[in-house]
């Protein structure tokens, strides 16, 4: 792989890393807010998603280092905090939709530059983000069918 190709790949990996680091924080604060409001079931689920994003960040950092680049862990995007569970889901869905577009672009760029390993990593992350988006859409659909209160009543874990 040429130096310019490597540089382009490292750049896109760092761009994805920034988004992952931002998502970790957004999901973590959303999880803690859910716990604070008493929605313990949601707390566990959303916290696990935050940790999933952390694992993606770990894989991206490892890949950038493998390519002899410097992982940019300093740059963060805007964290959007929802004031209700519904708003949290909507804001998280925006994060996932943007991530899917970014990752798709990244996969193409890596393949164009002959870096199949990075392309495969981004594909794995892309699949995981699609699953997360699907989960969020399901929750929003449940809220719409059961009503917001009906949905939330099911998220309070029995003491």
């Amino acid at each position: 792989m040429s130096e310019s190709s490597k540089k382009a790949v490292i750049e896109v990996l760092n761009e994805v890393l920034t988004a992952e680091l931002t998502a970790i924080n957004q999901y973590f604060i959303h999880a803690e807010l859910c716990a604070h409001w008493g929605f313990k079931k949601l707390y566990k689920e959303v916290r696990a998603q935050s940790i999933d994003e952390m694992k993606h960040a770990e894989q991206l950092i490892e890949r950038v280092l493998y390519l002899n680049g410097i992982p940019n862990v300093q740059r963060l995007g805007k964290v959007s905090i929802g004031e209700t569970v519904k708003e949290q889901f909507q804001l998280d869905a925006v994060v996932e939709e943007e991530a899917i577009v970014r990752l798709g672009r990244g996969v193409m760029l890596c393949r164009e530059n002959g870096d199949i390993g990075s392309a495969m990593l981004l594909e794995t992350i892309l699949k995981s983000e699609e699953e997360h988006l699907n989960w969020l859409r399901t929750q929003l659909e449940l809220m719409s069918q059961l009503s917001e209160q009906g949905y939330l009543a099911n998220q309070v874990e029995a003491q």
Binding site: K78, V79, S80, I81, G82, E83, E87, L91
Partner: protein
Amino acid sequence: MIICLCEGVSDREITLAVKSGANTLEQIAQKCRAGINCGSCHEQIVKIIETSKDLEEQKSCDIATPGVYRNV
């Protein structure tokens, strides 16, 4: 949605500040303290100002349209 994390200011509070006449970052900061610290929310605050302005312009166009309100 919380826009300014440093000061804990929501989009509703910023929209209220715009409605009460604030239409620059400085004026918004004076009204509700949003954006006075790290500045990472400035882009979103500007968007809220622009959206609110567009809505106001839309309203004034509706009012200015002959026959819409004058005959009421």
